[in-house]
Symmetry: C2
Subunit: 196 residues, 2 copies
DNA sequence: GTCTATAACGGGATAGAC
DNA sequence: GTCTATCCCGTTATAGAC
C-alpha cells in the first residue's frame, strides 16, 4: 500500500484472480490500483512484464503466508503443519485465495509464454523443498528420494485439485477431503519404505 | 476429415494445443482448417461456441482412445490397463498429446467461462468412473467409496502433473515416474483398506 | 454451405505535459 | 513519477453474393 508499484501488483493479483490472465485488461488493473494505465506501463514495460512481476509478487507473498500462518499460537505436530501448508487456500484470508487462483492462471499461461517459466520453476522448486522438509519432520527415517517424490506428488495433487475445484468440477469440501486423505496415504507409504 | 464441421473442430484442437485458448485466433483456426472465418462462425456462432464444441469434440475423441488404445494385441492385467489409461499422453499419437494440452487449457478457461462448466463436469465424472472401474478390476475387495476416492486423486494428480510438465516445471520422464509410483501407492492403500 | 470483403470495436501501448 | 489524451493495430463478427 505504501508505494504505487506495490499497489499495482496487489491490484494485478486481485484482477487476475477475478478475471483470469486472458481477462486481464490494463485499464481495469489501473483503475483497481487507483492509477493511470500509463503508470502501469512505466513500471512494468508491457503486458508480459506485468505478468512476470505479478508472478514474483504472489510467490513472495505466498512464502510469507506459509512461514507465518495466521491463528497459530500453539506449536503443531508435523502432520498438522503439513495439512496447514497444503490446505492453506481453505483459510478465509482473501489474499491466500487470490494467490491460489492467480498461481493457477499464471502457471497455465507459462505453457505458452516462456518468459514466465524461469520464475515459475524457481518458485516451484522452493515450494517442493518446503513440503519435503515438513514431510521429513513427520517421517525422519524415510529416504530422501522418497520424501522428495512424496512432496512432488502432494504438490501436483494439490494443484490439480485446486484447478478442478476452481473450474467447478469438484466441490470445495470434497477437494479438501481428498487432499487430507492423500497426506495420510503418502505418510503410510513413507512409513512402509523407511530407511533401514 | 469428411465434413468441414469436423475439420474445423480438429483444427481447433490442434490450434488450442499449439497456442492456448488465449492465443486462439479465428483466422488462424480457419486457415488451419482450410476454410473461411465466416464458415467457422456459421457453424459455431461465436468464440464461446467454438470453445464449447471443441471441448465436446476432444472429450469424445479421448473416450475412443482410452477404450481402444493402439498397439494392444494381448490382454493386459488390470494394473497395466490403469497405467495405460492414466499415462495415455505419453503415447506418441499427436491427437493424444493435443487432447491433453487442449483439455488443460479448456479446463483452465472454464474457471472464468461458465459456458464450459457443464460439459466439463459431465466429461470429468465419466472419466473418474472409468478409472474407478479399472481400479475395481485390480482391487475387487476394496470399498466403493475408497475406490472412487482413489480414482479422483489419481485423476487430479495426473492433471496436476500434466500442467507442471507442460509449463516446464517437471521433466516428462519425471512426471511419468511420479504417476506410476502414485498408482502403486494407491493400490497399496486399497489393499490395506479391503472390505471385510 | 461457403466465400470475399469489410464493419466495428476492444484494448495494448505511447506522446508529451506537468 | 504520474497524468490526460489518443493512436492504431489486431481480432471478432457480420453483410451479402454465389
Amino acid at each position: 500500500m505504501t508505494d504505487r508499484r506495490t499497489a499495482i501488483l496487489e491490484a494485478a493479483a486481485r484482477t487476475i484472480a477475478r478475471r483470469g490472465v486472458r481477462g486481464l485488461r490494463t485499464e481495469e488493473l489501473a483503475t483497481e490500483a487507483g492509477v493511470s494505465t500509463a503508470l502501469v506501463y512505466y513500471h512494468f514495460k508491457d503486458r508480459a512484464g506485468i505478468l512476470r512481476h505479478t508472478l514474483e509478487f504472489i510467490t513472495h507473498r505466498a512464502k510469507q503466508h506459509s512461514l507465518a500462518p495466521q491463528g497459530t499460537d500453539d506449536p503443531l505436530d508435523p502432520r498438522e503443519l503439513l495439512a496447514m501448508a497444503l490446505q492453506l487456500e481453505f483459510q478465509d484470508l482473501p489474499e491466500v485465495r487470490e494467490n491460489t487462483t492467480a498461481w493457477g492462471e499464471l502457471r497455465a499461461s507459462a505453457i505458452f509464454e516462456p518468459d514466465l517459466r524461469e520464475v515459475l520453476a524457481t518458485a516451484s522448486a522452493a515450494w517442493v523443498r518446503h513440503v519435503a522438509g515438513l514431510l521429513t519432520l513427520a517421517r525422519p527415517t524415510a529416504s530422501t528420494a522418497e520424501l522428495a517424490a512424496s512432496a512432488e506428488r502432494l504438490t501436483a495433487l494439490r494443484e490439480g485439485l485446486d484447478a478442478r475445484r476452481l473450474s467447478g468440477v469438484l466441490r470445495p469440501d470434497h477437494a479438501r477431503e481428498l487432499l487430507g486423505e492423500a497426506i495420510e496415504v503418502e505418510l503410510a507409504h513413507l512409513t512402509a519404505h523407511a530407511r533401514p
